[in-house]
Symmetry: C2
Subunit: 476 residues, 2 copies
């Protein structure tokens, strides 16, 4: 097996930091003793598929390793720790923030072949899963017993549990069911120092020692490599129902969101689409959106069969205000998501690039935030389209840009900077579910103050003293 040094391929790479080293032949030889050749790639052609994720950046690793046991993960991490070689854990590469990019080369540790559902225990509402198992496979396993696992990122069909855990994935149903951190009981993981640890427990209550489980969830592979997760299942509701509501403007739509969130029946999804989104849909489906509509809500309720129509009725009443143009029940909840799911591909069609953010503001601040977005779009002459999980105040802001226009890219950067300042001024947060990765790490200091950030870095050092695990991610 031959190592071709990646810089010869001409890809951009950030400068090496501190003690991090490229993969040298002696380390390659040792790794080769640990793994068969079909689970250890060093040919740049083979490595290429592990150079990128959905952030659309390219950083080829020097090697790709596919462990199939926790012991193999530990052996690889120990060796890389000894040689000071970066290790970037990777699920299925669906993240949008660059969290799984091997920016500093070294080893891409692909967990995609750790595919076992180790335990399915419906009596205790538990699935124990290896990290490479797809979110969808967990749902398929749980469903026949009447359960589901609530985190449902839009990538659920092809993203892995390990990736969902690393980013604390959310999705439209988080408004009622919470995010990944609310549905994990315990973990097994290998730290950057190569120690195998076991966090949390198998039961729904447990307070023995520090909560390392939730410390690892959302840590984007910078502290430890998760090798097994004990997932808490939730009973499937008996029934679902959906409705769509069109509003004259953002203001009346925002007012309805606040009203809906004050109901005792929390909707199971409450998705918002702005004027730009509706115009996009109009371009593809001319008759779908009523005239005069400037904002839309797609709402799902779930619960017992007997109460579902009452829940839908309550939500419908909460939508009634001066700005409501039209509201109606949808025949089935699958059709409810049609418009929403067409948005991302449509966006790709109208602009060469979208800068895709997932900021969060308090629900009551949505009118001010959305109004601010409109103003910033005008000020910087950057088109934007905004939609997202309104019940959590989690808005996917998409700035539409042409990466070949330097002036536009500069304006977009300034616009983004002001958007983040606006979010923070409204008591919001820069990321609701995508994570910081490499795309947003430069902004963390807007939100996290210096002593808290220093503490996070100290914790990183405790888990990963040589900074080999996904180095450079999260922190500026």
């Amino acid at each position: 097996m031959r190592l071709t040094l990646i810089p010869s391929l001409g890809f951009a790479r950030p400068p090496k930091r501190g003690q991090l080293r490229v993969l040298q032949p002696d380390c390659i030889a040792r790794l080769g003793e640990l793994l068969p050749s079909n689970r250890f790639y060093t040919d740049p052609v083979d490595c290429y598929a592990y150079a990128y994720d959905n952030s659309r950046k390219l950083f080829p690793p020097d090697a790709v390793i596919f462990p199939v046991t926790a012991q193999e993960v530990q052996a690889v991490v120990k060796l890389c720790n000894q040689f000071g070689v970066p290790v970037t854990p990777r699920g299925r590469g669906t993240g949008t923030s660059g969290g799984s990019l091997p920016e500093h080369g070294g080893v891409a540790l692909s967990l995609e072949r750790m595919l076992r559902i180790v335990v399915f225990d419906p009596a205790n509402r538990v699935i124990v899963s290896e990290p490479g198992v797809l979110n969808q496979s967990v749902q398929d396993t749980a469903k026949p017993a009447g359960f589901f696992w609530p985190p449902d990122p839009s990538s659920a069909a092809y993203s892995s549990i390990g990736g969902n855990l690393a980013t604390c994935a959310g999705g439209p149903h988080a408004v009622k069911y919470g995010t990944t951190r609310d549905h994990v009981l315990g973990l097994r993981a290998v730290t950057g120092a190569g120690d195998m640890i076991r966090t949390g427990c198998y039961t729904t209550k447990g307070v023995v020692g520090y909560d390392l489980t939730r410390l690892l969830v959302g840590s984007e592979g910078t502290l430890a490599v998760i090798t097994e997760a004990t997932l808490k299942l939730t009973p499937l509701p008996e029934a679902w129902s959906g409705l769509t509501a069109y509003f004259r403007d953002i203001k009346s739509c925002s007012a309805a969101i606040v009203q809906i969130m004050a109901l005792p029946q929390t909707p199971s999804a409450l998705e918002f689409l702005d004027t730009g989104s509706l115009n996009l849909i109009r371009s593809r489906f001319p008759d779908m959106v009523p005239n005069g509509a400037g904002a839309m809500l797609m709402i799902e309720v779930d619960g017992l069969e007997r109460s579902i129509s009452e829940s839908r009725g309550a939500v419908l009443r909460a939508c009634h205000n001066g700005g409501l143009i039209q509201a109606e029940a949808t025949a089935d909840t699958a059709s409810l998501w049609l418009a929403r799911k067409t948005l991302s591909p449509l966006l790709r069609g109208i602009a060469p690039k979208k800068i895709n953010e997932d900021v969060v503001v308090p629900v009551s601040a949505l009118p001010e935030f959305l109004d601010g977005l409109t103003q910033l779009s005008r000020k910087y002459r950057i088109a934007n389209v905004n939609f997202g999980h309104a019940g959590n105040g989690n808005i996917h802001v998409n700035l539409l840009v042409n990466p070949d226009c330097a002036d536009e890219m500069t304006r977009a950067e300034q616009c983004l900077n002001e958007i983040f300042d606006l979010v923070i001024s409204l008591k919001g947060t820069l990321s609701g579910e995508h994570g910081l990765g490499s795309e947003k790490r430069a902004y963390i200091e807007k939100e996290v103050d210096p002593p808290t950030l220093a503490l996070m870095k100290d914790i990183k050092r405790v888990f990963d003293p040589n900074n080999i695990l996904n180095p450079g991610k999260l922190f500026p």
Copy 2:
């Protein structure tokens, strides 16, 4: 102000550790500059009320300090850190594990005068609270707007939010609503190094940086002193209903628990009482418990008015098995709790001391666990009474002992040791909601393996390099 050294009072105190020092006159003088005399006690008589908690042990502090702002907390911690003086944060002292005992003397930092509800924001379902606010005050604030804060330890009326956070308090409704960690969005806190930090966010989604919020929740005041918490509120259900079910034996009762937990309607409470508990109730209320009943469930369901009777019916059907003696709806849910609430005082009446544990086992392991308890009770001739939150598998095991009988105490210790081994062998955890404090720290190594424990200790050092915050708690 005069310092009387505590050992002269003749109380037991564990040996001093490492760099920890008693409170010296120079430090007292400096603290006196920070606080008025009515918020800084050094007289042993005044300090006495802060020497104990509900673990019934006594460790008088050298001083008690009542800060009213985060800045005062910071100034006190900084000074004590400089002088190497232990600081034991304290809510209302209702904990049963000794977590708030000032075992090494020094300063008891009572947060009970930090009593402000800083923000009540129903539109965003948020209350921002200082740590001294009672759980009940949060409920009273939230209720008129149609919300509640789910953690409901039985001490809710007189325990503080700070204490609830420090122990990750649970309660009977955790079976449906989860525990404290599921209902906190962010914190402000002062670390053992005296740094003021801000964790988490104000919104229901947020993944920026490591999850320090949940790292602090349940850390029993060993990492930082919480000075403010952003609490996530939940809409009050429209209706409640209760039912009681009596079973011939533990086995049939356990089978019903598993059936109930498989329903799509998770009950809002599912409490279990064993034969010993029923006999205690019989001693006080002779007609309450039917003949032949060896176990009881008290079940609450909540939800929409329209569906509540259906939910109750489903639970009732799940109770039907060969061992069911009698099941009936209760007129109101308040009366449902009558029997349960009389148990603790009744227990105090029949034995000089109860060793009160809160172990958890997977729900499906309850029959085996409860059977094991019976056998261990016989083997060691230690009477026990067991009840608790069956839906979580969280059982309050009470060993009834006479502390003046050395032989009985030895047998009780051996019995407890075997109970913990049984819990671990069944994939359970040693504490579901009380925490380890000082009472259970000796057993942590049964559950947490050496590398994970080492990591926890390293994290402690990051937050509290001089080991002044609640020193000696949690760890053996």
